[in-house]
Structures are given as structure tokens and as C-alpha cells.
């Protein structure tokens, strides 16, 4: 594995191509577990029927690429919204939108999936702010994914 000396851990170049040899169980096709469109947090509507009382997954953009079993283990059975807390513009509206998911769509739970890089933690902070502003309280879980696709932590944040 090689790494550049870039200062930001979120943008630091890393090469883990040797992981190819560790690949297991690659036979057969897998069905997508995506049940809706659109999925970008700016574009989704809390009024959409698939958000009502749903278990919602709010995922940082990179998670779906890093996690090999993302569809099977994390997306299945959930309604999704994706965002990038580092690069997306207009993130103030994310707070209101997640608050609306909690209050108007009466979602059952929210799972936030982020990458281990520090800038990703902003997504958890956004969800926590939404929850603090919301009159309704729900369980919120944070799952942190390593850049090599391993689960680093799973914690209830509310």
C-alpha cells in the first residue's frame, strides 16, 4: 500500500489493490436492494410514500463504493438518501429535510453510514441537529466504514 503526503485524510491517496486476492464468494448475480428514486438528499421528498414510517438509511456517497455487501447487509429493507458532507452545497437544507423526515414522514429509525475520514462525521452532526430540533424522537444509529470496506464502529447516537 502506498500513500501520498496529502494533508487531508479524506483526500489522501492510498492504494490497496492487493486486496483483490482476498475476494470471496463472487459467483452469481445480486439483485439491487434499491426501492426508490431519486436518492440524493437534495432531491428526495419526505412526502414520498416510501419514506412514511420507514427505516431510513442516510449514507455518505462513498460508503456504497467502499462496502462490498452494502446492498445485502445495509440497504435491504430501508429507504435511502445519500449526501456528501464534504463537497455538497446548501447543507443547511439537509437539517430541515431530515427534520421533516422525522416529523412529517414519521420515520421509524435513521441509520447514518459514513466513511472513517473526519470530514464525513459532519453527516452525523447534521442528523443530530435535526433530531434536536425535532419534537419527535427516534433511534438514530451511526455506522462508520473503513476505507477498505470494513465496519469500524456501530453506535446508537440517540
Amino acid at each position: 500500500m502506498s500513500a501520498s503526503n496529502c494533508g487531508c485524510p479524506g483526500a489522501k491517496m492510498q492504494d490497496f489493490r492487493e486486496k483483490e486476492s482476498e475476494v470471496k464468494d463472487e459467483i452469481g448475480k445480486r439483485a439491487s436492494q434499491l426501492r426508490q428514486w431519486p436518492i440524493q438528499l437534495h432531491l428526495v421528498s419526505p412526502q414520498a410514500p416510501y419514506f412514511q414510517k420507514a427505516d431510513v438509511l442516510i449514507s455518505a456517497d462513498c460508503v456504497g463504493y467502499a462496502l462490498g455487501d452494502f446492498h445485502k447487509d445495509y440497504l435491504k429493507g430501508k429507504t435511502i438518501a445519500i449526501a456528501c458532507p464534504k463537497l455538497d452545497e446548501g447543507q443547511e437544507s439537509y437539517v430541515e429535510k431530515i427534520k421533516s423526515l422525522i416529523e412529517d414522514a414519521q420515520v421509524n429509525t435513521i441509520t447514518i453510514m459514513t466513511m472513517e475520514v473526519p470530514c464525513c462525521a459532519g453527516l452525523v452532526a447534521i442528523a443530530q441537529e435535526s433530531l434536536a430540533l425535532s419534537k419527535r424522537k427516534i433511534p438514530v444509529k451511526s455506522i462508520v466504514v473503513g476505507i477498505k470496506g470494513d465496519i469500524l464502529s456501530e453506535d446508537w447516537v440517540s
Binding site: D55, N108, T109, T111, K137, I138, P139, D155, W156, S158
Partner: protein
């Protein structure tokens, strides 16, 4: 060994006392359990031991039950030392139950002091017991145990011994409370003390079993959607009981802590003065 795996743990420990000590080494506290109807195999499975420790535990138990039998020792490092408690992470609804236990434990901690100042002859003394009974019935039972019995336990197999053990504990608690009320009517101070002590002993063990074994076990089996459902049902249940109940009983315990503290300090000061003056207790 199959026979003993399907035997209630109390029977196993009664017959092979060393098994209780072995379980304690693995932080499995079946020895003081008042019921002990859980099967040995369930006891081993429910405690979420890492595989290596589970194999180690089963080897030690089997060796104790059949000392003459040649049992192949598993190729793992035996756990000679006590195993450290891992930090338990509860889901939000289960965490709420654990937090409610904190208030109940505060009452349990006050019971020895309440016994010191107990006076069934005065109106204020009788009121104190009435208020304690109200806390146990309304908060510990209606507010807390009802959430377990009507909601949480519905998510697991109700026929499991561990659930039956918890339900039996709830029943036993209600019996002690009823006995306290009966004793108060008769002005029987000794009976009140006896049942308060029994209640303290029962609930202390009960809460430990729930916090350390039952709740983590239930949590491990819950899907995220069930966690959300339970959370929402708990909210609904609390709304029905009255949302002010939690605040009211939290305040009651705070006041009770201050009151018992004042009374005990005053009483001990008086006692010290009496012993100093007279040289001995009057």
C-alpha cells in the same frame, strides 16, 4: 452431557456445586438466582461469550460433571482469571429501561436507612411507607415493568425460562409490596421491614440479571425496525400513563434521599450524644 445441557441450572449446581464456581469465573451469576430454571445450554448461549471462552467453559463443566471421563481439552488458552466486563451498548429503548433501573436502585439503596427511621405509630411515618409503595406500584411496576411485559417481552419467545424467571420476579415483587401494605394496616413494623428487605434483595438481583444478561441478549436479536417500533411503543405507553409520571417519581426519590439523610444524621447525632453522656446505650 446432553442430559445435563437440558437440565435446569439450579439442579446442576445443587448436584455439582463446583459448576456454580466455574460459572462465576465467567461472570455468569446463576448461583444466587432465586429461580434457576434456565437450562444449562441456554445459560451458556445467552451470555454471549466469545467462542473460545464458551468452549473453555463447557470443557470445565463437563470435566467437573464427569471427572473420570477422558475429555479432550480444547486447543485454546484456558481462562483462569475472571473475565472483565465489557462495556454494554444498549439500543435507545433498552437504554431507557436501564435508566429507569437507576431510579429504582436509588430507592433500594435507601431501604436500610428507611428501616432505621421507620415509625408506624405516627401519621408521617405511615405516609412514608404509603409513598414508597406508590413509587413501587406506579413507577417500578406500572411505568417500568409494564413496558417489559406488554411490549419488550412480546419480541422474544415468552416460553423461554429466562423470561419466565423475570415474570416470576415481578410477581414476587408484587407479593412483597402487598405484604408491606397488609403489615402497615396491622401496624406490624417487623413485617414491613422483612418485606422491604426481601424486596430489596429480589430487585437488586433482578435488575442485575436484566441489565447484564437479558437486555443485551434481547438487543442482539432485534432488527433495527423492531428497535424503532419498541421505541415508539414505549413513547405511547408513557403517554398513556402520563408523561409527568417520570418527573414526579424522580422528584420523589430526590426528596426521599434528602429526608432520610436528614433523619439518619439527626438520629445518629442523638445516638452519639446519648452514648457519650451515659457511656452506653439507653
Amino acid at each position: 452431557m446432553e442430559k445435563y445441557l437440558n437440565t435446569p441450572i439450579k439442579e446442576v449446581i445443587t448436584r455439582f456445586t463446583e459448576v456454580g464456581t466455574i460459572l462465576e469465573q465467567f461472570n455468569i451469576g446463576c448461583v444466587p438466582c432465586s429461580v434457576g430454571s434456565c437450562l444449562l445450554k441456554d445459560v451458556v448461549n445467552i451470555h454471549n461469550l466469545p467462542d473460545a471462552q464458551k468452549i473453555d467453559l463447557m470443557y470445565l463443566i463437563e470435566k467437573n460433571i464427569y471427572p473420570d471421563r477422558k475429555i479432550k481439552k480444547p486447543k485454546i488458552k484456558p481462562c483462569a482469571k475472571k473475565i472483565d466486563n465489557k462495556e454494554i451498548k444498549y439500543s435507545p429503548p433498552i437504554k431507557r429501561l436501564v435508566d429507569e433501573h437507576i431510579l429504582i436502585k436509588k430507592l433500594l439503596a435507601l431501604i436500610p436507612y428507611i428501616m432505621e427511621i421507620l415509625d408506624v405509630k405516627t401519621k408521617s411515618g405511615r405516609e412514608l411507607i404509603v409513598n414508597i409503595v406508590d413509587f413501587i406500584r406506579s413507577y417500578a411496576d406500572k411505568f417500568h415493568h409494564a413496558k417489559e411485559e406488554d411490549i419488550l417481552f412480546k419480541y422474544v419467545d415468552n416460553n423461554l425460562d429466562i423470561i419466565n424467571t423475570m415474570l416470576e420476579d415481578h410477581k414476587a415483587g408484587r407479593f412483597h409490596v402487598k405484604s408491606i401494605v397488609d403489615a402497615l394496616t396491622k401496624g406490624d413494623k417487623n413485617a414491613i421491614i422483612k418485606h422491604l428487605m426481601e424486596y430489596k434483595k429480589l430487585l437488586t438481583q433482578h435488575i442485575k440479571k436484566e441489565d447484564e444478561i437479558l437486555y443485551p441478549w434481547i438487543d442482539r436479536g432485534l432488527l433495527i425496525t423492531q428497535v424503532g417500533e419498541i421505541f415508539s411503543k414505549f413513547n405511547e405507553a408513557e403517554k398513556n400513563i402520563g408523561e409527568k409520571a417520570a418527573k414526579k417519581y424522580k422528584k420523589f426519590i430526590e426528596d426521599l434521599e434528602n429526608y432520610t439523610n436528614k433523619c439518619v444524621v439527626k438520629g445518629r447525632r442523638l445516638l452519639r450524644r446519648t452514648t457519650t453522656k451515659g457511656g452506653r446505650l439507653k
